[in-house]
């Protein structure tokens, strides 16, 4: 916690989620959601202290190679095979403020679309030098970055011939448990995006566009790695100026 800036901690409740912007629980084009979606309405309530607060992680948990997927699983002197890229961006809240000290975790398949997971049976080969996970903590401006291999598309048993677009999974902690978010990042120009039933769980095309990272030529490093920029927006907090005062404690 000492890693966070000395700004006064924010204690306001979060903006209500726009659940028409997020995918609904029940989205039958994505078959697994059929039996894993609640049928009853959610119980809606303004955030309490249990949701306004949340865990914050210190930079001490981050190892030297945690944000370098090209090397963090590779044998000494070797590196993962594939298109070398940098993924970077900012974590902001809905008010446009940077979220500093936010833990960002990510995972992905290798260049051939193969995950290193015992349940994965796709015949594309494992890369002995690629594990597929990384993490970082945003700086005071909300910025994060990591190096990786651009993941391949991969087939999955949903429809007869469904393939996921190239994607990187993201898990983000803000400062409150109500901000907890898992999402997926896609790549500019990938025609697979618009065929995917998981992408298609999101009803609004503008919301889908928010998940597509742009090729960031300005930050591409010559003779080394191209860059993609992916900004993430977490729920904003209401101003605390007119919050109800807590009493009796």
């Amino acid at each position: 916690m000492s890693d966070i800036s000395n700004r006064k901690p924010e204690t306001g409740a979060f903006f209500a989620r726009d659940r028409a912007w997020h995918p609904p629980a029940y989205a039958p084009g994505y078959k697994t959601s059929v039996l894993r979606s609640p049928q009853r309405a959610l119980l809606s309530l303004d955030g309490t202290i249990s949701e306004i607060t949340g865990p914050v992680f210190g930079h001490s948990i981050i190892g030297e190679l945690d944000n370098d997927l090209i090397h963090n699983f590779a044998r000494p002197g070797e590196s993962a095979i594939g298109e070398r890229i940098i993924v970077h961006g900012r974590v902001l809240d809905e008010r446009g403020r940077p979220v500093s000290g936010a833990l960002v975790e990510f995972w992905q398949a290798n260049a051939g679309g193969r995950y290193r997971h015992k349940k994965e049976t796709y015949l594309a080969a494992i890369d002995p030098n690629f594990g597929g996970c990384g993490r970082c903590i945003t700086d005071e401006y909300g910025q994060y970055s990591f190096r990786t291999i651009r993941p391949g598309a991969y087939p999955w048993p949903n429809g007869v011939n469904d393939w996921r677009p190239a994607h990187i999974h993201f898990s983000i902690f803000g400062h409150g448990f109500a901000q907890r978010l898992i999402t997926q990042m896609y790549f500019e120009g990938d025609p697979m995006i618009w065929k995917c039933p998981i992408v298609g769980t999101i009803p609004d095309k503008a919301a889908i566009e928010q998940l597509i990272a742009a090729l960031d030529w300005g930050n591409t490093i010559p003779m080394d790695a191209r860059a993609y920029k992916f900004d993430i927006v977490l729920r904003g907090r209401r101003s605390t100026l007119f919050e109800n005062r807590l009493e009796g404690n």
Binding site: R36, L42, D46, H169, T183
Partner: protein, 203 residues
């Protein structure tokens, strides 16, 4: 008219079946990247409070256990303080993380946390909320993480006065948020869909 200028929240997507690679790599045999999986230990020998075990299953709409979920919990310490910068009422127990993460077992679907029983925390209007643990569940087939709470069966009076439980319109559904107890072990099963469906929160 001026634009309000607010950004839209990044839309959620499912965590997918390989969520463990990112969140609990050691659990899925990707060793050597992180020393240990984050959230695997909530307490140490100095943590204050009553030690408890919280365990259970997550069931889908057919009653089958979900064996590829990840469960995260967030709770106050034994004195009712959160280990968070947004906690303004005092300093929480520094030997208690307050947050834990556990994948459901790939064979039988069980999750399990070793933690302490949380103290009471106040509702916004000053009323007391009954002791509770916040849950967040992600998995393949879950498009946006599901929030719920676990309450304690021995706190019948506090549960009756709890402002959140009081908002549950159909009283019999309150039982879906109350764990069962045997000694220091609480079993909290979560039913995603159908009969005895757990109350999930938009909070």
């Amino acid at each position: 008219m001026q634009e309000l200028g607010y950004l839209k929240e990044t839309p959620s997507q499912t965590a997918g079946p390989y969520v463990h690679i990112g969140l609990t790599p050691n659990f899925c045999d990707i060793g050597g990247i992180y020393a240990q999986d984050l959230g695997s230990a909530m307490v140490n020998e100095k943590t204050l409070g009553e030690r408890i075990t919280v365990t259970g299953h997550i069931y889908d709409g057919t009653g089958a256990p979900v064996r590829d979920a990840v469960v995260e919990i967030w709770q106050a310490d034994s004195a009712g303080l959160y280990n968070s910068p947004s906690e303004m009422r005092g300093a929480a127990d520094q030997n208690f993380a307050g947050w834990g993460r556990c994948p459901t077992c790939a064979e039988d679907g069980v999750y399990k946390f070793e933690t302490v029983k949380p103290g009471c925390v106040p509702f916004k209007d000053g009323r007391t909320m009954a002791p509770h643990i916040s849950f967040w569940i992600v998995a393949r087939g879950i498009n946006i993480g599901l929030h719920t709470r676990m309450y304690f069966p021995e706190e019948a009076d506090a549960n009756k006065a709890d402002p959140l439980l009081a908002r549950v319109e159909h009283g019999e559904r309150i039982a879906t948020m109350i764990a069962s107890r045997e000694d220091a072990t609480y079993t909290f099963d979560i039913r995603l869909q159908g009969e005895k469906e757990t109350v999930f929160l938009d909070i």
